[in-house]
Structures are given as structure tokens and as C-alpha cells.
């Protein structure tokens, strides 16, 4: 291992800003995608339930 301390690790030999921006941006994008899919699924299922159990059902109108 090449890191003497935690601060050395976060400094990334002076390239910390570039390295951590890359990794954090990637993590945020992936996290956001998973969250967005979670919400999309919930919304789709809610609409489906509403359609199944009457409510605003266009097919019976």
C-alpha cells in the first residue's frame, strides 16, 4: 500500500480534486439512476393498481 495516512490518501498526490470528482460523480449518477427507477416503478405500480381496482379506468368509460 502506498498511503502513509488518510490525508495522503485523500490528497491523491495533488490530484485529489480530479480523482474524487470522477468517482463521486459516477457514484451519484448510479445512485440517482437506481432511485429514479425505484420511483418510476412505484408510480407505474400505483397507476396499475388504480386501473385494476376501478378508479380512473379509461377502458370502462
Amino acid at each position: 500500500m502506498q498511503w502513509g495516512s488518510a490525508s495522503e490518501f485523500f490528497a491523491m498526490g495533488g490530484y485529489g480534486l480530479y480523482v474524487w470528482t470522477s468517482f463521486v460523480a459516477t457514484a451519484l449518477c448510479m445512485g440517482w439512476e437506481v432511485l429514479a427507477l425505484w420511483r418510476r416503478r412505484a408510480a407505474a405500480r400505483a397507476e396499475q393498481h388504480a386501473a385494476l381496482l376501478g378508479g380512473t379506468d379509461e377502458t370502462t368509460a
Binding site: G13, T26, L52
Partner: protein
């Protein structure tokens, strides 16, 4: 053969929906584990690069993201082509589900590339062949998605975005070979089929682990999205409901 599986069975949304649902947790779990191991190797095992210092560690997200951006475009185009050829609903849904993840990885490849370019080249962006063709790929993903949302009729939207995706596939080999065909500021391939790897073996292992992790992540989110698309498209998909809900429905009518 006794283990013969009727794969054609899964080409119907009714059969594919529960199958995808069962597969998602597996792909997601393995992706998380591989990402953990890959990050550990990338930051704690792989040595410092003798030329680029620690800045090179961006490679562990940049290259997997760039590979996924190209690979997912080809897979999207293949599903679009199958959809056109066989007039298969599920194929078009797969193409639709792939586009946002592909676009996200293209964006990440460009962003992490800028983060790597600034300390090594002194510029966030240059108009060289590799970077420009990758930027065009982002516009192609955007085009495929915008075309879909701008056409109300689902069948026409499917076909229009499929044609757009298929035409644009020519850009993928251009991106891939751009560093050989043109004199680019972007460095050449670190890993090639012909010459093998130019990297230290621990660096290569970390990069390949991250690539595999991104690949499995992509499968998980794409399967999750295609399930959403299935619910959204089928007007009343009773088949994916729990028996109790179906019973309630019948009683309610």
C-alpha cells in the same frame, strides 16, 4: 437434452417480467461486491503510475464507463434491429430500457475524461477525434430518447428510434479506432486484443473488475427499467399481480 430450456418462452413479456424480477437482485449483489473489490484494488493494491502519478486512478471509472457507453449502444441497436426484423414488442422495450443507462455512461466517460485531461493535458476538453466522436455518441443517445418521447404512437416511436439507433451504430467503430486512425491527444488503447495489456497486472485486474461490475450493474438497472416499461405499456397487465389483487379486481367488478 433433459436440461433443455424453452428460451422462446421468455420472449413474451408475461414470462419475461417475473424472470427479470428474479434476476435483478443477483446481478445487483454481484455488481456491488465486484465494485467493492475493484475499488479496493484500484486504490490500495494498484501501484502509483510512474508517468501520471495518482491521476491515472481515474482510469478505474473512466475506461469502464467508456466501454459501457459503446457496448450498450451496440446492444441497443441489436435489440432495435431484432425489433424491426421480427416486429417483437419486447425487443423494442429492451432498446428503450438501455438508452438512458447508455447515455449516463457516455456522460460519465466525458466527465471523467475531462477530469483526467485537465491534469495530464492541461485542458478539460480538446476537439480531437476520440473526444468528439464520444460527444456525438451522447447526442445519438439523446436523439434516440427524444425521438421516442416526441412521437405519441408507441409503434411509430419504436420504429423511428430503432432506425435512428441503427444508423448511428457506425459511430461506435469510429470511436473505438479513432486513436489509431487519427493523430489524437487521447492516449491509445491500454488493453488491446493484438498486443495484450501495457498496464501493471494489478491495475489491469482492478480495471477489469470495475468493468465487470459496471456491466452487471447495467444489466440490473436495464432489467428493472424494462419491467417499468412493461407496466407502463400494457394497459392492464394482470399477469404480474399477486393472486390476491387479481381476486380483488374480479370481485370489485
Amino acid at each position: 437434452m433433459s436440461m433443455d430450456i424453452n428460451w422462446l418462452k421468455y420472449s413474451s413479456p408475461q414470462a419475461f417480467y417475473p424472470l427479470a424480477g428474479r434476476l435483478i437482485p443477483w446481478f445487483a449483489c454481484v455488481a456491488v461486491v465486484l465494485m467493492g473489490v475493484g475499488l479496493y484494488m484500484g486504490f490500495f493494491v494498484a501501484p502509483t503510475d510512474f508517468q501520471q502519478g495518482e491521476a491515472y486512478r481515474i482510469i478505474f471509472v473512466h475506461v469502464p464507463a467508456a466501454w459501457m457507453s459503446m457496448f450498450l449502444y451496440v446492444v441497443m441497436a441489436v435489440w432495435a434491429g431484432i425489433g424491426m426484423g421480427l416486429n417483437a414488442r419486447l425487443s423494442f422495450m429492451m432498446a428503450q430500457a438501455i438508452a438512458p443507462t447508455g447515455a449516463m455512461f457516455t456522460f460519465l466517460a466525458l466527465l471523467t475524461g475531462a477530469m483526467w485531461g485537465k491534469p495530464t493535458w492541461g485542458a478539460w476538453w480538446v476537439w480531437d477525434a476520440r473526444l468528439t466522436s464520444e460527444l456525438i455518441l451522447l447526442f445519438q443517445y439523446a436523439g434516440v430518447m427524444l425521438l421516442r418521447t416526441s412521437i405519441d404512437d408507441v409503434r411509430r416511436a419504436d420504429r423511428a428510434s430503432a432506425v435512428f439507433a441503427l444508423v448511428g451504430v457506425v459511430n461506435v467503430p469510429i470511436i473505438y479506432f479513432s486513436v489509431q486512425w487519427w493523430n489524437t491527444l487521447h492516449q491509445g488503447a491500454s488493453v488491446s486484443m493484438a498486443t495484450g495489456s501495457k498496464m501493471a497486472s494489478t491495475m489491469l485486474t482492478a480495471m477489469l473488475l470495475m468493468t465487470l461490475a459496471f456491466w452487471l450493474y447495467s444489466i440490473a438497472v436495464i432489467l428493472a427499467r424494462v419491467r417499468c416499461v412493461m407496466i407502463e405499456r400494457e394497459s392492464l397487465p394482470v399477469w404480474n399481480e399477486k393472486p390476491i389483487v387479481i381476486q380483488e379486481t374480479v370481485e370489485a367488478r
